[in-house]
């Protein structure tokens, strides 16, 4: 609004505006068929990338393991069989046995549920709290913004694992505290991403337009801001799930997370330490499980980043139809 320009030096001469009567379909409005853009469209584009598809396949397998683990695992997680302790992989024990003769394959399978649960709940906490705080900070600004974001900065200043350990130290070790600790640690990340995206969307004309039809702040946040920032948040959720699972493994490895006899990948690695030269299978298979799960979440997160940006998506559609 600042560039000096000569007014009314372009376009119509007076009267030209009322020269025609009635709507004449102009050449500016080609009759395009409304293309169906739906949730399945997102999935299709996600799968069309081979790397992302591989990530999705692994994810589906892990989820299946988590849900159906009880029926897949040939042994119980704590079926002790000391006679067959530290057996290498064989037909009876696919991944071998540990120092108490427990079946490593069964324990890896049964741990999937716990690892995923910890990841989902922890990230769920971080997501809900972080997004809510980020929305308030970004949309309303002022002192709420200052208070929220400076608090986030304080949390950010600590190394993630150190902070999680401090929280566990205060609340006492265990599955629940591990979830809370990981959730708290990842909250500032979501708050920061949400705030940044909200700041951008808040200035969009359609937010102003929504105020102009009398929408309340709550409605604007819910209907206009939140859907437009879901892209980055979804991507961050996927990536955070990977790190949350890793954090859980780390906490459990340090003896601060899942407590025995509950199985967990991190805990299994902890138990395998002493036998790393004698029974490689005890550490390799749980390690592989962590590696593959984290990799899958990362691959899917990257894939989503490409697909979920609405502008990127429009460009893709145009490229495809051309």
């Amino acid at each position: 609004m600042s560039s000096p320009e000569t007014p009314s030096s372009d376009r119509l001469a007076p009267g030209a505006g009322d020269g025609r009567t009635g709507p004449v379909p102009g050449p500016a409005e080609p009759a395009e068929t409304p293309e169906e853009v739906s949730r399945t469209g997102t999935l299709r584009m996600l799968v069309s990338n081979k790397v992302t598809a591989a990530g999705l396949v692994i994810l589906v397998l892990v989820v299946l393991l988590a849900v159906l683990g009880r029926w897949i695992a040939p042994y119980g997680a704590n079926d002790i069989d000391v006679v067959n302790a530290l057996q290498p992989p064989s037909g009876a024990h696919l991944f071998g046995t540990d120092e108490l003769g427990r079946d490593v394959f069964s324990r890896v399978v049964l741990s999937a549920r716990i690892s995923l649960t910890v990841g989902l709940v922890a990230v769920g906490i971080a997501l809900v709290v972080g997004v809510a705080l980020g929305l308030v900070a970004g949309f309303f600004g002022g002192w709420p913004d200052t208070v929220i974001m400076r608090s986030a900065d304080v949390l950010f200043a600590f190394p993630i694992l150190l902070l999680a350990m401090a929280i566990v130290a205060v609340l006492g070790p265990g599955l629940t505290t591990a979830m809370i600790a990981i959730g708290v640690v990842y909250t500032p990340i979501f708050a920061r991403i949400t705030r940044a995206s909200t700041l951008a969307v808040r200035e969009e004309l359609y937010v102003k337009a929504s105020q102009a039809v009398g929408a309340s702040d709550g409605l604007i946040l819910r209907r206009h801001v939140l859907p437009n920032i879901m892209g980055p948040i979804t991507v961050q959720t996927s990536l955070s799930l990977a790190f949350a699972i890793l954090s859980e493994a780390a906490l459990s490895f340090l003896g601060l997370g899942v407590q025995p006899p509950e199985p967990s990948w991190g805990r299994m690695l902890y138990d395998a330490q002493a036998f790393i030269y004698d029974a490689w299978w005890m550490s390799v298979f749980p390690g592989l499980a962590i590696f593959l799960t984290v990799l899958a979440f990362n691959l899917v997160g990257d894939g989503m980043r490409d697909v979920l940006d609405p502008r990127q998506r429009t460009a893709d559609e145009i490229r495809r139809s051309a």
Partner: protein, 345 residues
């Protein structure tokens, strides 16, 4: 605050049933910048006011402040803006929400960014009727179909499920008009709604708004930098410069008898399509910096006829030069300017 200046003969607006919006001495400051400086105008029920000015003249800010859509803070608004006697400037956010969309509808300049890219046309079109009028999803949908029909969109049922990026610019602006009209507002504010569109589409939109206005008895404020567009729709035109109305008159009168040197400059700067020869006239210089407004007339440094000694030291008051014609200059009340624009009148 400046002292009250002589106003047009509108008397107390609350008793005047014909005036829908009565804006009195409206001023907007943002930090040190004086964006709007004592603007007064009124919009009659069913009438159309055109507001013309170049970029940065305060057109949008004036109307946003008058309708309570300006963000304050940072903006500080003073003066009054009476919608049926109720002052919008002093309303709290809850009262404003009852006005926006319900009694006053808005169309913005750029249709491509004023629609939410992730919502369908139906979702955006049914939003306001559902919370303002309490319509059910089904009723709101029926209303949306009628509205799309009314603004001239072919095949409304399939358009309802379209996303904004699947529509052309003209279509989007029609959807925006439908959104603005969704709750049958008494006043439609159009902030340069055709600037981003090509000339053909522009003419269609203009025509459509005129039809809708007549069928609904709505008042319209149409903002534009383009005198041609305004001449196609307004009954009355206010010319804004430096956040002041420098001239205000009925459409015909403004075109046949412009009194302010700035208005005359605008008229001369129009491209003449009928006999398109010669160079395009321009007004040399640029609008005043709202952070450092001159003490005297805001147009002084660009004015071709500054003769009066008061020009440099005093702001000219609004002077009536006809029954409904006011002008803010020391040099326009007489006939000396007529030969300035070719002498034909």
């Amino acid at each position: 605050m400046r002292t009250t200046e002589p106003r047009r003969p509108t008397a107390p607006a609350s008793s005047d049933g014909d005036v829908l919006l009565d804006v009195r001495d409206l001023a907007v400051r943002i930090g040190p910048a004086e964006i709007v400086n004592g603007v007064s105008f009124s919009v009659p029920r069913g009438g159309t006011l055109g507001i013309v000015g170049e970029s940065g003249s305060g057109k949008s800010m004036t109307v946003l402040a008058a309708t309570g859509l300006i963000d304050s803070p940072p903006a500080r608004v003073s003066g009054q803006s009476l919608l049926d006697g109720q002052d919008i400037v002093t309303m709290d956010p809850r009262q404003l929400r009852g006005v926006h969309g319900r009694r006053v509808g808005f169309i913005f300049q750029d249709p491509s960014t004023s629609l939410n890219p992730v919502l369908t046309v139906e979702q955006q079109l049914t939003e306001a009727p559902r919370f303002h009028l309490g319509l059910t999803r089904r009723d709101a949908r029926r209303r949306a179909l009628e509205l799309l029909e009314a603004v001239g969109i072919p095949d409304p049922p399939s358009r309802l499920s379209s996303y904004p990026h699947q529509l052309s610019g003209g279509m989007k602006q029609r959807v925006m008009i439908a959104v603005a009209l969704a709750c049958d507002p008494e006043l439609l504010v159009a902030d340069e709604p055709t600037t981003a569109l090509d000339v053909t589409t522009q003419a269609q939109i203009l025509e459509r708004v005129k039809e809708l206005q007549e069928s609904r008895g709505m008042s319209v404020i149409w903002i534009s930098h383009d005198l041609g567009v305004v001449s196609g729709i307004a009954d009355r035109v206010a010319v804004l410069y430096g956040g002041q109305i420098v001239e205000s008159a009925p459409l015909e009168e403004l075109f046949t008898d412009p009194r302010h040197p700035y208005t005359r400059g605008l008229m001369a700067a129009r491209p003449q399509t009928a006999h398109g020869k010669g160079e395009l006239a321009v007004i040399p210089g640029s609008p005043p910096d709202p952070k450092h407004l001159p003490q005297g007339c805001l147009f002084w440094d660009r004015c071709p006829v500054r003769g009066d000694p008061r020009c440099e030291t005093e702001r000219p008051p609004e002077t009536p030069v006809g029954p409904e014609h006011v002008v803010r200059t020391f040099n326009g009340g007489d006939a000396d300017g007529t030969d300035r624009r070719g002498g034909t009148r």
